[in-house]
């Protein structure tokens, strides 16, 4: 147990000690080697890197150097990432074998290991993290501590204003003032729908009930989205603190965080954070000497996408099959065990402490008229810089994809980006300059969603894309209501036959009709948004559907059944590379004579197309 004074003392001391983490000119003898221990870098052996660093330092008796595990730095494509503070040197794609060189050259000799420095998109070597274009347009609020602190050390969290917002709320604000602050900040739900957070808190506060609950939705399920996971892995205490603030505001003394079991690192760190907070008396009774009490527990999800739907999530916490409930009543009135319950998503909570400390005015100065603050996107697909980015609302898609993301690799062209995962839609090149906020995304037929942003180049077939997302929905539909259970299956079947060359002219109108029925008649958000990928690709790329159906051709060349791989005898020089490349021996021909592909054997994999030095093979 720690008193408020003791915690403040820890903050003061630790803040001085850790100044080098945020201050390039920190006057300290120490150096900190920060190693990312997010899921991505961990799977690329970052634990071994940490171990090697520690062993080598010990062997060589190097003093004043600490090796720290941190959360995600964001630029996952370059992982494992190692950063050395205070000079902020950024080493990319580090392997355990590189550790010795880094210590010898960088730590002992004081020189940079050039071969490990990160190359920016334009080819220039960048030796500091904030010099990378990837970071220049970002503004980190939700991810503020990710990559800065050791998530498993509560003192480091406290050092960077941790639990200060809670102290402020408990000692100087009424619950109504807290809710007013959140309302004034303009924060909206980051789970996807964008409901005003302050309003949600107000409903939960006004609801009558002897027991209320605060729930954190960490059942991140959109394919490609991993911002919630990264926040839990990199800064678990900020979620605990925000949930406690919410509990104080609405009058709840018990919280649950529902995390998918596929996030073992996040679960383990969060569990540790709860234990530490309890040990410090931050979670418990008489918190900071007030009569506020709060307890928090983790509930694991089994990986059903539908459990991200708030009422299905509640059902799952209660131990039942994860299926959505009828709304109304909304969880604010009848949630967990029918008690008033506040449910917010991880990223939403991650903004709370900053709003409380810096004020609603500061927060609402960032973003657009209707969408305030920042949004974290998981940037993936055909883009150079794959990773997590946090940008102010209103940043355009072009800025994210090209300035931050570094554009499309291999000299290909941008075709579209999918936001909102299986519930969202595609955004074509013509809308690249749309400022990203809740309203403008839905105006162009997509949605914010939880923040997955998949970029596609011109080799991607949009019918196939729609098929992919429908396949996901079919797998993840809970089966409760007819339109989602059978309707999405029928849509998938139609898309399958279109991509296989068996589409019929009326399939497009059939798809549209069914899509509207599913949207209007499904029980929950999963079904209501499931047809969006089809509707938005139909909106922007109808010609591709028509080409598949009428001409039996896939313009992007992705649909194998429609591909016809041929060697142009006039261009073929008979070099034989294609023959060696073919996995099924479908290509024959004499040296220096035009080769031929046997269409009966060819599996249309396209390996020969990519390898032909004379571009003689077409799909």
């Amino acid at each position: 147990m720690k008193t408020l004074e003791e915690i403040n003392k820890i903050r003061e001391q630790k803040r001085k000690e850790l100044d080098l983490r945020v201050n390039l000119k920190a006057g300290t003898k120490e150096k900190h080697i920060l190693v990312c221990r997010g899921t991505g870098c961990t799977s690329s052996k970052s634990p071994k890197i940490i171990e090697n660093f520690k062993n080598i330092l010990k062997e060589k008796n190097v003093e004043n150097v600490r090796v720290i595990q941190t959360g995600c730095f964001g630029l996952c494509a370059k992982g494992p990432i190692v950063i050395i503070r205070p000079e902020d040197t950024f080493y990319a794609m580090v392997t355990p074998d590189d550790c010795e060189e880094i210590i010898n050259t960088h730590i002992i000799e004081g020189k940079k290991v050039e071969r490990l420095l990160c190359k920016d998109v334009d080819g220039t070597l960048v030796d500091r993290l904030d010099e990378l274009n990837f970071y220049k347009k970002q503004e980190r609020i939700a991810l503020k501590n990710c990559g800065v602190i050791d998530p498993e050390n509560i003192d480091e969290y406290i050092a960077f204003d941790g639990y200060k917002a809670l102290e402020k709320v408990l000692t100087s604000m009424t619950p109504d003032e807290v809710i007013q602050e959140v309302t004034d900040s303009g924060l909206r739900g980051r789970g996807g729908a964008g409901f005003p957070t302050g309003k949600k808190w107000m409903f939960a506060k006004m609801a009558k009930g002897d027991q209320k609950y605060v729930v954190c939705n960490a059942d991140e399920g959109d394919p490609g989205a991993f911002m919630d996971r990264s926040i839990l892995e990199g800064d678990p205490h900020c979620i605990i603190e925000a949930m406690m603030i919410a509990g104080y505001a609405i009058g709840a003394n018990k919280g649950y965080i529902y995390v998918r079991a596929e996030y073992p690192i996040a679960v383990q760190r969060f569990q540790k954070a709860i234990e530490q907070a309890k040990e410090y008396g931050i979670l418990g009774t008489n918190i900071f000497g007030t009569d506020f009490e709060f307890d928090l527990a983790i509930r694991l999800g089994a990986g059903a996408f539908v459990c991200g739907e708030e009422t299905a999530l509640l059902e799952s916490i209660e131990g039942r099959r994860g299926q959505p409930r009828l709304k109304p009543p909304f969880p604010a009135n009848a949630g967990l065990w029918q008690k008033p319950t506040l449910i917010n998503n991880v990223e939403t909570y991650a903004n709370i402490t900053k709003i409380i400390l810096n004020g609603a005015k500061w927060y609402s100065s960032i973003g657009t008229e209707t969408s305030k603050g920042t949004k974290v996107f998981a940037l993936g697909g055909n883009v150079v810089n794959i990773g997590l980015v946090e940008v102010p609302m209103g940043t355009t898609l072009r800025e994210i994809v090209f300035d931050i993301g570094g554009g499309i690799p291999d000299g290909k062209e941008f075709k579209a980006a999918q936001t909102g995962g299986p519930s969202g839609g595609c955004i074509p090149a013509e809308h690249l300059d749309t400022p990203i906020d809740y309203e403008s995304l839905s105006a162009i037929g997509s949605m914010m969603g939880s923040g997955g942003l998949i970029v596609m180049d011109n080799t991607k077939c949009m019918v196939n894309l729609a098929k992919f997302y429908l396949g996901f929905t079919v797998d993840e539909s809970c089966g409760k209501c007819t339109p989602c259970r059978i309707g999405t299956q029928r849509m998938l079947e139609i898309l399958e036959r279109i991509t296989e060359g068996n589409g019929e002219t009326e399939d497009i109108s059939k798809l549209e009709k069914l899509a509207h029925t599913i949207k209007n008649a499904s029980v929950c958000g999963l079904g209501q948004t499931a047809p969006n990928p089809v509707l938005s690709t139909l909106k922007y790329f109808k010609d591709e559907y028509v080409a598949h159906i009428e001409d039996k051709k896939c313009p992007a060349g992705e649909c194998k059944a429609l591909a016809n791989v041929e060697i142009n005898p006039e261009l073929c020089k008979g070099c034989g590379i294609c023959k060696r490349q073919c996995p099924v021996n479908a290509i024959s021909g004499e040296v220096k004579q035009p080769h031929k592909i046997n269409p009966e054997i060819c599996i249309k994999c396209g390996a020969c197309v990519d390898k032909c030095p004379f571009k003689a093979i077409s799909k």
């Binding site: 089966g479 209501c481 007819t482 059978i486 299956q489 029928r490 209007n520 008649a521």
Partner: protein, 580 residues
């Protein structure tokens, strides 16, 4: 009262009703599939969707409550198209072999398809794979006929609190399953058959055994005896278009005779004997300070339930066999001896409102000298099918009488078919036996009616008895918990597995959701039984002359050695799940 607007018409309706109910007030019939009054209003099928001004998308009317000033549209082109597509989707994955389906002509999906003029399937595609589970002696499941309305699940899980079935799998692959996808025969199913009553299609049906009856009827060497349970006579007529609650005893006996049964007896006689034995057992238990409360044992679904769930309470169960089993045992002994028929040649058929009786008759305990008490149990529905197959114009039949010497029964036996009836019949006899008088008060109103639990204190021979009658297994569970925790101070408990009693049994004619919404089927059938009782000249079991004669000539007295051998049984703890 609140004001609403439905399809442009202003209307005053009660508060706390659903949009579906309000629409009915306005003479609008909104189609439903997954809705079943008081059982399921999950809003899953989406057939009943309507538009409500100010609400996003379409909302299900079955579970949306009306609000003052609500503007509702039930019949717009968009709603109609949506319903048609929903129906199309359900049909597209459904096994549409309607002509050979047991529910042909009484299927809610078929009715809707007809109503919407579904000429072809617009969205054909993958269908649900046929998977038939027919290992249970009572219930057959056919996954390919299932439309995932989950009415059966709501029934089994919420009303019966058995939870033998639930949804497994996700999305298009979701299906109704048992634990570990085992057969119903190998899980905690009680065979009550309420799931069949809940099913709108042919996905759940009784295990039909009428072919064996036809064979025996044709066999000159078999002596085929039939008995009919009290609840059958007030429901059978429904299968022939007669009003719910019509008493068709005479026509039923007439039809059975035309079908060729050698003797047509009345299970009610067996019920009177059950009362003799049960009242005797009860009085003995009180006198001997034996285990109390005593719990009735007529309902085989209930017996399997207690064997699986409350084995520690088995000593509370009356040792009496159920009436038709007692009766079967007496037919093959007393009757056979009297008529000089080789009991081995007797084929005993019971017509029951129940599918659990099919299981019961196959229990190893239900035998005497190697012969089954009852050889075949058919349900009310199966009997109706036999009558139809034989080309008998049921509605036009003359009345006929049950055969002697086992065809006479009392009003007390008739009410066995409804919840509280066994209790009332037993109390009539117990009070006379205890006082040695012929008491005039024979109607025990406190145990009548449709409530799931009816507690009462009755004064019998100067002594206050605390009794309770519960129907539906969720209610049974509540009473068992009371007994287990020692909170209960009852002396006599009547339990029937089916909500409302045998008249609502799993083997009774299946009423559509629409019918159940509009009329109280239970009450109509129960009223018919009470009316039989009221019109009976003899209304106490111990005054039944046929029963008296059986005791004089054969059984000697209630609880005798022979009575015990033939009419009583024992129970055993039963595993819920069969694990190989």
């Amino acid at each position: 009262m609140i004001k609403i607007n439905i399809d442009g018409r202003e209307l005053e309706v009660k508060e706390n009703i659903t949009v579906l109910q309000a629409a009915r007030v306005a003479n609008i019939d909104i189609p439903t599939l997954c809705f079943l009054k008081e059982i399921n209003a999950a809003g899953d099928c989406r057939m009943c969707v309507v538009e409500i001004e100010g609400r996003r998308g379409l909302v299900p009317s079955c579970n949306t409550m009306v609000e003052d000033g609500m503007v509702i549209r039930t019949n717009t082109p968009q709603i109609n198209e949506t319903r048609k597509i929903i129906l199309d989707l359900i049909l597209s994955s459904h096994n549409r072999t309607c002509l050979t389906c047991v529910r042909n002509g009484n299927c809610e999906l078929q009715t809707l398809a007809q109503k919407f003029g579904m000429a072809e399937i617009e969205y054909p595609g993958q269908e649900v794979e046929p998977h038939i589970d027919d290992l249970s002696p009572s219930i057959v499941r056919d996954a390919s006929k299932c439309i995932m309305c989950k009415r059966c699940v709501a029934m089994c899980k919420n009303i019966q609190k058995v939870s033998a079935i639930d949804v497994a799998g996700r999305g298009f692959k979701s299906h109704i399953s048992t634990a570990n996808e085992a057969s119903l025969n190998d899980v905690n199913c009680t065979n009550c058959g309420q799931c069949i009553q809940a099913c709108p299609t042919g996905a759940l049906r009784e295990k039909e055994t009428i072919d064996d009856v036809w064979l025996k009827l044709k066999d000159p060497d078999s002596y085929v005896v039939v008995q009919t349970a009290p609840a059958v006579r007030v429901a059978l007529g429904e299968e022939f278009g007669m009003k719910i609650g019509t008493n068709v005893t005479g026509k039923m006996v007439s039809a059975l005779k035309r079908l060729g049964f050698d003797k047509v007896f009345d299970t009610n006689t067996g019920a009177d004997i059950t009362i003799m034995e049960e009242a005797h057992e009860f009085i003995e238990r009180i006198k001997e300070n034996d285990v109390l409360p005593m719990i009735t044992s007529c309902s085989p679904g209930w017996i399997k339930y207690i064997e699986m769930n409350y084995p520690e309470l088995l000593p509370h169960l009356s040792t009496c066999k159920s009436p038709h089993q007692m009766f079967g045992a007496l037919v093959k002994t007393y009757f056979a001896k009297k008529e000089k028929i080789d009991p081995k040649k007797i084929y005993m058929v019971s017509v029951m409102p129940c599918v659990a009786k099919k299981f019961e008759s196959q229990r190893p305990e239900m035998k005497n000298e190697g012969l089954r008490d009852v050889d075949n149990v058919i349900t009310t529905r199966e009997l109706a099918r036999m009558i139809k197959q034989a080309g008998i114009e049921f509605a036009d039949l003359e009345d006929a009488q049950f055969d002697d010497p086992m065809g006479e029964a009392t009003g007390a036996a008739a009410i066995f078919g409804t919840t509280g009836g066994v209790m009332e019949a037993a109390l009539r006899t117990a009070q006379d036996v205890l006082t040695g008088q012929d008491l005039p008060k024979i109607e025990f109103e406190a145990v009548r009616g449709g409530n799931g639990i009816k507690r009462a204190t009755v004064n019998i021979a100067g002594k206050d008895l605390k009794v309770v009658a519960a129907s539906g297994l969720a209610n049974a569970q509540k009473i068992m918990e009371e007994i287990k925790s020692g909170k209960a101070d009852y002396q006599f408990v009547e339990i029937m597995a089916c909500p409302g009693g045998c008249i609502m049994g799993g083997g009774q004619p299946i009423k559509s959701s629409k019918t159940r919404r509009e009329v109280d089927v239970r009450k109509l059938r129960a009223d018919a039984l009470y009316s039989i009782d009221e019109k009976s000249t003899i209304r106490k079991s111990h005054e039944n002359p046929a029963v008296k004669k059986i005791y004089e000539e054969f059984l000697e007295e209630p609880g005798s050695y022979r009575a015990h051998k033939l009419l009583h049984t024992h129970y055993k703890e039963r595993d819920k799940y069969k694990i190989d």
